[in-house]
Amino acid sequence: MSSVGHESCGQVSTPSAAIELLETAAERRFRTLLRVLASGLVLAGLAYWLGPLVGPFRTLYRELPFVSNSVTKVTVLGICCLYVSGNVRDRMGLAAIVIAAHLVSVGAMLVALAFGKTNGTMSFGSLGVASVRTVLWGAVGLDGAITLVVVAFFILARRSQPAAAALPSTPAPELLVSEKRMRAFALFAAVVFALSGVGYELGGLLDSTRGLFQQWPFVTNSVVMSATFGMLWLYVARDIRRHLPLGGVAAGGLVLSVVVGLSYLTFLNTDFTRPFAGNQLDMTDVLWGMVVLHAVCALVFFVSYNATWKARFQLNFFRPVQYRALLAAAGVVIDGPAVVPPEEVAQSVERYAVKMTASRTWLYRMAMLGLQAHPVLYLKPPFSELSPRLRYEHIRTHFQKVKPTHNWLLNLPAVTIRMAQQLCFAAYYNDKRTWKAIGYVPFSERPDYDPARRATGPHPLTVERPDDVAEDVIETEICIIGTGAGGSILACQLAERGHHVLMLERGRYVEPRSFSEDEVEMISDLYGDGVMQQTEDFRFTVLQGSCVGGSTTVNNAVCFDPPAGVMARWNDPVIHDAGLDLDELSKSTGAVRRFLSVTTQHQGLNPSGQLYVDGAARLGLSPSLIQVAPVDANIRDCLGCGYCNIGCAYGAKLSMLETALPWVQKNFPDRVRIISECEVQRIRAVSGSPARATDLRATLSNGRRITVKADKFIVSAGTVASSYLLMQSGLGRGLPVGKHVSFNMGAPITAEFAEPLDAYAGLQISHYGLPRALNGFAFEVWWNPPVSQAENMPGWFGEHFNNMLRYKNMMGVGVIVGTAGNASIYKSPLGGPGVRYVPEQRDLATLSRGLTMLGEILFEAGAQRIMLNTWDLRGAQFTEKSQLDRIDAVVMKPAWMSLGTGHPQGGNALSRDPRRGVVGADFRVHGYENLYVCDASVFPSSLSVNPQLTTMTLAHYAAPRISA
């Protein structure tokens, strides 16, 4: 087990024994030589390719099929050298093939010199003419020298390698049918290419055929190409499971040959003939024949190749090349004595990915492809072909050590690595076998588990899934888009007033009895695309639920009254001019509190919360400077399962799914209809003064499109989706739609204690801290089940692994800062909404103050070590209070911090002034007769506290205005 960064900040963990594969000096030198050789060979390939097309030596490259073979030969050899350089110890067999290919080259040329007609000449353009003999001898010298050098380095590297430990012999696993087929193909290909190599050599020696095989240097290149392919295929067939990726190299060479041949056919004059066996062969026909033959071989190979990988790994989501990258990443990012081997981690990721409901899961595929290809930019083999050590170095170089930036393009390599890491963590820590090691006990195995409280029967809510929807055109009185905090309260209020309401929800309807302890499954079911939402520069996560009940189904149910100071600012005619009746708003707050039974929590609290409370008291901050207490929440008789963020199966969290929606359907039957898995594409409106929304188009998850006509439309889809829907529909043009978006920006401190805390066994957010002076931040004690915590746990490689081993000794407290409204929503070129945000310096300064104060509290509480959430732990972990003054330096580099939010706000701000807001005091979109917005997107500025109660309050307040 590698050392943990318990020492002072600045130390970075070294790879564990699992990854460490110390290269010997000789192996390192061999690796360097091979990379140099690979560069040279690839450049030579380029020169061969372009030679007939451009430049002064075009006359040299007359015999185009052989020139094409030359391109393939040197490029494939170059790629083989690259592959060896990626993992010298495991690829010595491939190195031997490279050496053998050079020996074949020397041999073929010597045979040509001895027995072939080499008295011809070759024209080098303006440089003059040289005899074929001279060129051949020169090539013999060059290839011979290369061979000798490579052999020397090979032998030295081989001798320096430690003797392989004698492993107990185990029977080789039975090959699958597709693998056997692949092996047969490889053997067949090996024989065919070997014979073709002989054929090329003989072709130049026989009188009847030598007319075609005139330029010996290119002919011998063709011999070597065939020999190399033959050896490669034989090597693949010898151990199909281990060497199959090399088949890709060979097939790639065939594809290259096709491309080169096509380029010659397109750009060169190939209308000439060559004598062959008494006939005149048209060069165009020869080239086309070669192109077609190689294309067919490559196609047959790739079909078989993909089928083999898919069968071996049961692939339905990832392509083989993407899966291999994932598998390679799994072997590195989980750096420690893993109880789940990388193969099983990757398999789990594949299984989970197939079930994911998010529409942007293609990003995972692209990320894995990007990860696989990225090393090639640096003249290395693909990621999966690197040794574990080199993979580790690659990730460190292009993630850990990279200068943080807000430029999305420069962040792409880091993003691919990050995604691979997150997928691997999700699979690893969702596996029960890891729980014992980290000290986690699932709720169903804890003493306070009460199976009687678990939801088992059908939920008292009627929700139509796509197959239940009979009509293509639905007419209703009021259509609400979204079933979250705002939409559900609105539905209740409007139904109570006699209206008929249709609610459309993009996410799934998951009944509480289906909520499980499987984090990955529940995240997929309840968050959809909301789990993958990040800002444009990939540095800030915007987490949102996507299911019936909206974010209330997956949030922590924390309730704060609308802050008086914020409400005053909203109403200030100079600042936002929201035009709210604050007295009535206050009454709405009370009504919502009563409706949802919002109470101060005293049951099922997070066990670590008291440490925080005590720390703040001992430091003298509480109660005079900070109000510290258990949270108010819409939770009743909490069992402390700790699964707030993946759905409460025990009826304790009184989300919209649990309360408002069943209540309204029970009390006002047939007035509220809910359709799930229904994504609204656009709302249509006719122009006018005011304009009028007429209908909307939506797509069900089964692909059917429906139209909904209504008298009124209310958009309650959440900050990001609401703004995006208006933009997508072309509505609110001229209004600041999608602008002035703000967040409760969150950054946790993870603290380690000597004693076990079992912070997972209780309310995820149980205590809060609110400075009495307007400091601009708040604290929330917070912890997660293993997968979510792994995604948020600071550290990389061994640090992360060892931090997770201390899971039960850790607690987390988050600082949330209400940000300025400098974020914006836009239409992403990739489809869907994009979020653009870079934290302002002022907000970061507030965050820094909050984190510093929090650090003091946690040390006072007895923490041995605290860590910030940064991309790299360097400089971000502290063991003493005196080190906390360095927090500022870390935080003020926002690209370095791992920031996020579950509380996006704004985008369709409330203001009576259409220049400053999208909706007026009646929540109607300016300029529209019957279009409303009512959710957190109407907040003119950030609340700085959890927004759900304010969202519901506004909905309650808005209902009579909308109803009128």
């Binding site: 594409q681 656009r682 249509r684 409106a685 006719v686 122009s687 006018g688 003064s689 007429t694 209908d695 188009r697 529909s729 072309g730 043009r733």
Partner: protein, 168 residues
């Protein structure tokens, strides 16, 4: 040389009808709320292009279109069929895709009219910028591909003053 005969007129109409069948795949019918929008767009394009075709002929950048061809092309093809197509794909296809579809269909129609009516015969595009009849037909088709973008922009402006239009 142009040859406009009743049989050829029927032939061209039949060609339009065949394309219309394909266009209807994108949109089965024009919703009542869209009828006004349809009429505005169709009329604006038909009248404008009808006049423009003649003016451009006078300017020497277009070959002469006999009034029958001009009328059919502008009122039936552009006014009716293309407007229907536009309403069908404007919400489901990206703008570049819309332009591509319009450009391709425009090219096909022009060649059909050339074949049947003998029109669209010019050996250069726009003041000899590009030579050959292919350049002529292709160039004008490329300009026709701007229909969706132009309609989008102009419709938004007009919608500010004319009530009852459905614009994206």
């Amino acid at each position: 040389m142009t040859h406009i005969t009743p049989i050829r007129v029927v032939g061209v109409l039949g060609f339009y009808a065949a394309l219309y069948v394909v266009i209807r795949v994108t949109k089965k019918s024009v919703a009542p709320v869209e009828k006004k929008t349809f009429l505005w767009i169709a009329t604006a394009w038909a009248v404008a292009v009808f006049i423009a075709n003649y003016l451009l002929y006078l300017a020497g950048v277009m070959s002469f279109l006999p009034w029958v061809n001009n009328f059919m092309h502008t009122f039936i093809w552009i006014g009716f069929c293309q407007t229907w197509l536009y309403l069908g794909i404007r919400e489901t296809e990206s703008l570049p895709a819309q332009c591509l579809i319009f450009g391709i269909l425009s090219l096909v129609v022009k060649y059909a009219e050339q074949r049947l009516f003998g029109t669209w015969q010019m050996d250069h595009f726009f003041f000899h910028w590009l030579h050959g009849n292919g350049a002529y037909v292709g160039g004008w088709s490329l300009l026709d591909a701007s229909y969706p973008a132009l309609t989008l922009v102009v419709a938004r402006v007009v919608a500010k003053y004319v009530p009852g239009l459905v614009v994206t």
